[in-house]
């Protein structure tokens, strides 16, 4: 029993390590991918100096970020200032704990689920953590003691509050259809037909709200470079800045995974192994995000708020009602 | 230095005048006659005579047309270039003089006899084209007449004091 427990623990640690390494590597290379893609979309090369095709660019960035001086503004609230980037990075990593990336494998007779932990309230866990991650931004912005950072932090908080609601609401129909909060269950509920086909409205609402949640273009108002310098992370440098960055790119992967799980049927798919399907779906979403960044301009702040409160929430509510009616009707 | 016989009448005139400065042109002309032209030395002499500074003499000497600050010949030919003389053949007179004497305006012949200076209307328009040689007017001029005048002057005059 104890051995079992120890073995399970060892497996968990190994799993965690593998996932973490992959996740960080992917996040790092996502930077490379994004820069490369943005470059090409702008008829440039993108990074091509460090290594072949610039493949060593993430490494170079890492070296640079680590060796760079870590400055703290004189009047900053030091403790919080140092803590904030950690919050962002940590929360992003934590969310991934509930994301299933495969149906599970059997190794040495043991069935290992390809999810770190299959919480039965995984969806609520995600919502909760994604709300906490904004603390990192708000705290970082406030602790910097810089007007740009503060504005960026405030914007981040306000934006989170505004878009948390439609995001949550847009997932209600998904839960209604899957009849579970567990992400594994939700995935399995789509083995025949991904929810995107039954819930396109939910999909779009979630996509928009999630974009705003992770503060990506066209919703990157908290860091709006041309207005606020770099918003909440204006004052950060070195690896602390790197953590903010890391958080952002992990969040991108998470967003891809969540969309894959909620709407695209997770690892389900014909012919190819499930893990490949999963990665493919995540990849498509991530590519779309980068594509959006290369295409859309940043929206104005009033537009952001208008869209969130006056458009997305009513539609999400309506969607719940309609879905509910249909579910009741068909069952 | 100036000789006493030249100096004395000048000094006398200056002493007799209430405002010696009135005599400055006369003094300059007198010194010019003596030296042949108003040399630098003459300027200083004039300044001394009149209790002026050389600059004040120079201010006037360079102002006036008939004060020669540069050496001139025995005969200064002032060729009138007024409009009437111009109309009546000033160009040919001047060209003839140039050819005959082999000099250009302002220059003096090698032998120190003649200097040609074009001059504003000399007031002999009824005799145009006219010229003035050492205060005496000649006109209306023709090339032959010019030759005659120049030859006569050259033969009658004493040799010039200072050849160039």
């Amino acid at each position: 029993m104890l051995l079992e427990w120890i073995l399970g623990f060892v497996f968990l640690i190994v799993k965690l390590t593998i996932v973490l390494i992959i996740l960080l590597t992917v996040a790092a290379y996502l930077v490379w991918v994004e820069r490369k893609l943005l470059g090409r979309i702008q008829a440039r090369y993108g990074p091509n100096r460090a290594g072949e095709f610039g493949l060593l660019q993430p490494l170079a960035d890492l070296v640079k970020l680590i060796t760079k001086e870590d400055t703290v503004p004189q009047e900053a609230n030091k403790g919080i200032f140092l803590l904030a980037p950690g919050v962002v990075g940590l929360m992003a990593l934590l969310i991934f704990a509930v994301v299933p990336f495969g149906s599970g494998v059997t190794l040495w007779g043991r069935s290992i689920p390809l999810v770190i932990t299959d919480l039965n309230v995984g969806l609520l866990f995600i919502l909760a953590l994604s709300s906490i991650s904004v603390y990192g931004i708000a705290l970082g912005g406030w602790a910097s003691n810089s007007k740009y950072s503060l504005l960026g932090g405030i914007r981040g908080a306000a934006q989170m509050i505004s878009y948390e609601v439609p995001m949550g609401l847009s997932l209600v129909p998904v839960v209604m259809l899957a009849r579970s909060f567990s992400l594994v269950e939700i995935t399995n509920a789509q083995s025949a037909r991904p929810f995107i086909f039954v819930q396109p409205v939910s999909f779009i609402l979630f996509l928009i709200a999630a974009l705003a949640e992770i503060k990506r273009i066209p919703f990157d108002l908290p860091e709006a470079e041309n207005e606020l310098g770099a918003g909440y992370h204006t004052e950060y440098s070195g690896m602390r800045f790197g953590l903010f960055f890391l958080g952002e790119y992990i969040t991108m992967i998470i967003l891809g995974s969540l969309i894959a799980v909620f709407f695209l049927g997770g690892w389900h798919g014909p012919l190819l192994p499930p893990i490949i399907w999963f990665l493919l779906k995540v990849g498509i979403i991530v590519f779309t995000l980068i594509w959006f960044r290369a295409t859309f301009p940043r929206i104005r702040y009033d537009q952001l708020m208008n869209t969130g409160w006056k458009v997305l929430i009513p539609i999400a509510l309506l969607n719940i009602v309609v879905t509910g009616a249909l579910v009741l009707g068909t069952s | 230095m100036l000789s006493e016989e030249l100096l004395e009448p000048l000094q006398k005139r200056i002493a007799e005048t209430d405002h010696p400065r009135e005599l400055v042109v006369d003094i300059m002309l007198a010194l010019q006659n003596h030296h042949g032209y108003l040399s630098d030395q003459a300027v200083e002499e004039a300044a001394r005579l009149l209790d002026m500074t050389p600059l004040e003499i120079e201010e006037l000497a360079t102002f006036y047309d008939f004060i020669y600050r540069e050496p001139v010949g025995r005969f200064v030919i002032h060729v009138c270039d007024g409009v009437v003389c111009w109309m009546n053949g000033y160009d040919s007179v001047l060209n003839h003089l140039f050819k005959k004497l082999g000099i250009k305006p302002g220059e003096t012949t090698e032998d120190g006899f003649f200097t040609i200076l074009p001059t504003a209307c000399i007031g002999y328009c009824d005799l145009s084209p006219a010229m003035l040689i050492n205060g005496r007017a000649y006109g209306p001029l023709t090339p032959e007449k010019i030759d005659g005048i120049l030859d006569r002057l050259r033969s009658e005059a004493p040799p010039p004091r200072m050849a160039r």
Binding site: - | I67, V83, A120, G123, C125
Partner: protein, 422 residues
Amino acid sequence: MYPQVIFQNRKPNRIATIDEYRQSGGYQALTMALQKYSPKEVQQAVVDANLQGRGGAGFPAGLKWKSVADDAPFPRYLITNIDEMEPGTFKDRIMAHADPHMIIEGTILAGYVVSAEKGIIFVRPSYESSALILEREIRIAQEAGYLGQNIMGSNFSFDLIVHRSGGRYICGEGTAQINAIMGMRAHPKQPPPRSTEKGLWDQPTVLNNIETLVNVPHIVRHGAEWFKGLAKTKASSGTKLYCVSGKVNRPGCYELPMGTPLREIIEEHAGGLLPGSEFKACLPGGASTCFLGKEDYDVEMDFEGLKKCRNRLGTGAVIVFDQKTCLVGATLNLIDFFVRESCGFCTPCREGLPFIRDLLWRIEHGEGEEEFIPILHRMCAHMWKSYCAFAPGASMPVTSLLDHFPEEVHEHISQKKCPFKS
């Protein structure tokens, strides 16, 4: 033949002696004035006679004398101007060579009127002969008692000397002449103060043209009405010496009544134009007057008559141009003269005239452009804002050339050469 007043003793090739002058009534006026008339009365006679200054401006001589205040300080000076350097003018020389005592008597009378104690005859160096004549005759007049202390027993004393100039056109200008006499650079000076208040050595000074003064004895002797009657026109009085030169058969100086028509002067007195020549234009009063075209050939030659055709009588020196003479060239020659003779004191004259000369030279030598003409017009107009009357006078031939003979100028420009040169 008109009555000869100024030239009554003119002899061919000889100077009238004091006796000849006295025989013709000379020095009677002086005797009469000193014995019978007060200076005021003589002055009044001259005012009545409307004796206009013959130097060019035509300002009545009597009025000029009047501007010497009664209580003006002594000594006062009188200057007789024989510094004519206006191209085309030679009347002063003729006068000095004809009848020097008339000049002397006129000067003494004027000195009497303004109570001057010293008269100065300002002679240009080209007229050295005239200066010598005048110096000699002044000595003779002195010996005869017309000059010196207490002349003819009156309490009027007057000295007369000849002042030689160094030779510059600007010395003919009154204030410049005063500066020249004082041994300073001959720059004109604008009033105030007027030279009749503060002139030579800061004393009241009257400056008259010689031709003005020679009329004074005759006015004193014969009266103002007689003098007025001499003229042909109402507005003017007396006779005038007209110097005719250029393309005429008999160039010379003629004494004719004021207001004699130009046609008469040229065709009758000066013997008409040279064979083969045709009247094209003339300068009626020396270099600083306007060209007078064929259309004004019948103008009455007095101050008023010429003013009517926007010209000036000036010194009454008629320079006649025929159809074979290039007026652009003539103007260029005149401007050349003015450029050289400017005293250099004020900018328009010193720098503006060379500019005009340059443009004219280019037109005459085939480098002209049409755009030069408005520049010339503007600059000539601006010449009137210079310090003294020199530059305005210099601009007059140019302005009239552009106004009256534009075709000739355009021809120069379009043909890129002087059409009068082969």
